[in-house]
Symmetry: C2
Subunit: 125 residues, 2 copies
């Protein structure tokens, strides 16, 4: 693993948020890590493939990278896309039992409309 790969991985691991490639790039810049955006993409792709990170897609938005590669889900507001991590008890076990497939990982996104956006919607009426 190259030095830049390590630094990028560290940046993602140190953050509490899911970040887009662009956000990671900017944060790297701020931390004086000298890397181009193209390389950020390349490095993030490698890291995801190696299982050090997880790449997540939401409709209509740039992909984000998640430092947590263990089982968990996301609660996402359909309007503003704000995302909260969710832990589930025994979900892997339940899915395994119901599908019979020994899978690598699951991506569970629960869509709802957050309070903020609900209120906005009301106002617009």
């Amino acid at each position: 693993m190259s030095k830049l790969s390590q630094q990028i991985l560290e940046i993602v691991k140190d953050s509490d948020k899911h970040m887009t490639a662009e956000e990671i790039f900017l944060l790297a810049k701020k931390k004086k890590v000298d890397i181009s955006l193209a390389s950020v993409y390349r490095v993030l792709n490698s890291l995801s493939e190696e299982g050090c990170l997880r790449r997540i897609s939401f409709s209509n938005k740039a992909d984000v990278y998640d430092k947590s590669v263990s089982d968990h889900g996301h609660l996402v507001c359909s309007k503003c896309k704000e995302t909260v991590d969710l832990e589930f008890k025994d979900l892997r076990k339940i899915l395994l039992k119901q599908t019979g497939v020994d899978f690598d990982y699951y991506e569970l996104t629960i869509n709802y409309v957050c309070e903020k956006c609900k209120r906005l919607k009301e106002k617009r009426k």
Copy 2:
């Protein structure tokens, strides 16, 4: 709902696969439905927002549209992206109980490597 919207919806509902906007566009053409690609996108967006269809994103691939708007998940091969629908018993209930959030819908993607791709991988070694 415009005539074209209805026709596009019908095309999606009639198909057993998840299709990309492009695939839907081509299928429409074949069925002599005269519509531009831009309008296919516009129509699919409206239909998704109205809850008649569901738009699904996978990393690295064009979004697909799912005729099934009821609770279900997808088993996706990480390599070839081939997708199979999955039904889960009581999953909504379980998620509701564990999160306490009365959500609109969930998107559950289970990632694995299908047999075909597993064999390919072996060969490459």
